[in-house]
C-alpha cells in the first residue's frame, strides 16, 4: 500500500491554479450548461466550474478514447503514397472525475496494455492528469459500492479531492498530482480531516442501495449455467441501440474506417462501436455469428462478468456508475443491476 501524502488546500486557490493552467493546457471540468445539465467541458475560467453535480451521463472516457480519432492521414497524390501518423495529443487535466470513472480509466489502461500496447491511447493517457473527486452526491442509480468503484479510492488518481467545505482534502497519487499540490498553499491533513472524510463517505454509502450483487451472476455466466431462455427473453427486450456500451466506462470497442477528403487525400480513423449492433460481427459474405440480439446481450455480459475476463482484467467490467440503468430503453430490464438480479433469481439452470 503506497503512503499517500494528504494535504489541505484552499478551494479558491486550487481553482485559480486550474484557471492559470488552462492557459497552457486543456483543463476539463464539470460545467453547468444553460439547460441545467452538468457536463465535462474545457474551461477558461474558474467561474465555470461547478462542484454541485451528480455524475454526467456521458463518461469521461471520451477524453482518453475520443469518439472519433484519426490513426493516420494519407496522400496518394505523389509517386509513392505518403502516410502520416496523427499528431501527438496535447496535455490535458481532467478535474472532478468521479471515483467510478477513475476505475473505468484503470480498466482502459489494462485493456490498452499487454503484448500489443495501444500507443495511440497511451500517448493521450500519459499526457493526462486526473484530479478525481470523492463522491458525495451519488445518483439513485449508483452502485459503485458493489463494484469496488467508489465512492472514494485508495489509488488510480493523480490527485484525489474530498470537498470539506472551504477546503479540499487532497491526496497525492502520482508525481503529476504532487506537482499541482506543490503550487498551492497547503497544510498537512491530520486525523481530524480523515475522520471528517470517513463520515462524509459513510453518509454517501448510506445513500446508495446495493442493488447489484455480481457474484452469483459471475458464477452462472462463467459456468455457462444461465438458462438459455433468459438470454432469449432479454434478446427480445433489447432494442440493440448500443446505449449501454456507449455510456459504459469499461466499454472500448471501436470500428476502423477510411475517409477520403479529396480524391487523393484522406484519413483512417477509429470511432466507437458497439457489440450490441447487429453489424458488429457481420462478415463480408453476409455470415453473421451474432445475428440475433440474444447472442449480443449474452456477449456483453460474458465480457463484463465471466471469470476468464475478470482474471485477465483483475476485476469485473463494471464500476457501478449506473449509467446503463439511466440509458437503457428496455424499461429497466437490461442494465447491469437488473440482469444480475434476473440471473440470480430466475436465470440459473439446475445443476445436473
Amino acid at each position: 500500500m503506497p503512503i499517500i501524502e494528504k494535504w489541505l488546500i484552499s478551494k479558491t486557490h486550487l481553482f485559480e491554479r486550474l484557471e492559470s493552467l488552462s492557459r497552457e493546457q486543456t483543463v476539463i471540468a464539470p460545467v453547468r450548461q444553460s439547460d441545467g445539465e452538468v457536463s465535462f467541458q474545457p474551461i477558461r475560467s474558474a467561474d465555470e466550474i461547478t462542484l454541485e453535480y451528480v455524475n454526467e451521463l456521458h463518461p469521461p472516457k471520451r477524453f482518453l478514447q475520443p469518439v472519433f480519432e484519426p490513426l493516420f492521414t494519407f496522400n496518394l497524390g505523389g509517386a509513392r503514397p505518403q502516410l502520416t501518423a496523427a499528431p501527438p495529443p496535447s496535455p490535458q487535466i481532467l478535474f472532478g472525475v468521479r471515483s467510478c470513472d477513475v476505475q473505468g480509466f484503470r480498466h482502459m489502461d489494462g485493456f490498452f496494455s499487454g503484448a500489443f500496447k495501444d500507443d495511440l491511447y497511451w500517448q493521450r493517457r500519459n499526457q493526462t492528469t486526473v484530479i478525481s473527486m470523492a463522491c458525495l452526491q451519488p445518483a439513485d442509480t449508483c452502485f459503485c459500492i458493489c463494484c469496488n468503484g467508489g465512492p472514494y479510492l485508495s489509488d488510480g488518481f493523480d490527485l484525489q479531492l474530498t470537498d470539506l467545505g472551504e477546503l479540499f482534502l487532497a491526496e497525492v497519487g502520482s508525481s503529476k498530482g504532487a506537482a499541482i499540490v506543490q503550487t498551492c498553499d497547503r497544510q498537512s491533513a491530520g486525523d481530524k480531516e480523515e475522520r471528517h472524510r470517513q463520515a462524509l463517505m459513510q453518509a454517501c454509502d448510506e445513500k446508495m442501495i446495493p442493488t447489484a450483487y455480481l457474484a452469483k451472476a459471475v458464477i452462472a455466466i462463467t459456468n455457462q449455467r444461465v438458462d438459455e431462455k433468459l438470454w432469449e427473453e432479454m434478446g427480445l427486450e433489447c432494442f440493440s441501440c448500443g446505449g449501454c456500451t456507449h455510456v459504459c466506462p469499461c466499454c472500448t470497442c471501436f470500428e476502423v474506417l477510411d475517409h477520403r477528403e479529396t480524391e487523393k487525400t484522406g484519413l483512417r480513423f477509429r470511432c466507437w462501436d458497439s457489440c450490441q449492433y447487429a453489424g458488429f460481427t457481420r462478415e463480408a459474405s453476409g455470415h453473421n455469428p451474432r445475428a440475433q440480439s440474444k447472442e449480443r446481450v449474452k456477449r456483453r455480459f460474458y465480457h463484463k462478468l465471466s471469470f476468464a475476463y475478470i482474471q485477465a482484467d483483475g476485476h469485473p467490467g463494471c464500476v457501478g456508475c449506473g449509467r446503463c440503468i439511466t440509458v437503457c430503453q428496455a424499461f429497466g430490464l437490461l442494465d447491469m443491476a437488473a440482469v444480475v438480479k434476473r440471473i440470480r433469481r430466475e436465470g440459473q439452470m439446475v445443476a445436473e
Binding site: 496518394l76 500489443f116 500496447k117 495501444d118 495511440l120 477510411d258 484522406g266 462478415e283 465471466s306 475476463y309
Partner: protein, 274 residues
Amino acid sequence: MQKLYLPQLAVIDQIVDETADTKTFTMHFDNPHYNAEFRYLSGQFVEASVLGVGEAPFGFCSNPNRTGTFAVTVRAIGRVTRAMHAMHPGDLLGIRAPLGNHFPLQEVQGYDILFVAGGIGLPPLRSLIEPMLDMREKFGRFTILYGARTPADRVYKTRLEEWAQRKDLTLLQTVDVPDETWNGPVGVVTTLFERTHIDPAATVAFTCGPPVMIRFVIQDLLAMGFPEDHIISTLERYMKCGVGKCGHCAIGHKYICVDGPVFSWRQIKKLPER
C-alpha cells in the same frame, strides 16, 4: 510513433487469377531493409489496406521459408477485396504483418499429416503444406483432401497437379458439381475419408474451409477417434485492428486475431460460442 495501426507499403509483384472471383497477390515491402528482415510463420495473417477504401485480414498462403516475397489469396466479396481485385502489378498496398498465432510445425514432426480443405480454405493450409514438404522426411504418411464447389472453383490448379504427381503424398480431390472436365470423385470433402487410410492415433489433422464444412469434418474426425488436440483448425471473424483491441473478433475471452486464428478442437470446444 503509432506503429500499431500504421501500415508498411508493399508493392504487388504478381496477380494470378485462381478462379472467377479469386486472385493470388504476391508482393514485397517497398522498404528494402524492412523486406529483408521480414519473417512470418504458417497460419499467421496480414491486414491489407487499399488506402482510402479500408483494411481487411488475409492468411498468408505462401511458404514462409521463401523470404523476400509473400502472398495472399483473396476472394472478391466485400469493399476492400473488390478494390484489391481492381489493382495491377506495381500498385501499392498497405500491410501490417505478421499478425496472429501460427500452426504447430515442429510439434507435429513424426506424425502422419492429414489436410482437409474446402474451397478457399486451402490458401492458409498451403502456407503449412509447403514448408512441411521442404522437410518431408520428418513426417509419416502425408494426405491432402480438397473439396470445391466445381472444378473451376479450385484454387492453385497448377500446384494441385504438381502435388498429384508426387509419390510421397496422397492428394484426393472432390467437387460438389462436376463438369465435363471432371472424372474424379463427386460429393462433399468428408466423402473422401473412406477412400484413404488414416490412423487416427498417429495423425494430426489440419482443416480449413467454410464453417459448415469444418463442423462436419471435425465431427467425422472425432468419430474416427482423433484426439481433440490432434484436430487443428482456424477460426474466422469480422476483424478490424488485428491486435486484440477493437473487439470485433472476440469469441468468449479469446481474440481470434491474437489468440488465434489457429486453434485445436480441444480449445475450440471450450469456447462459449463457436
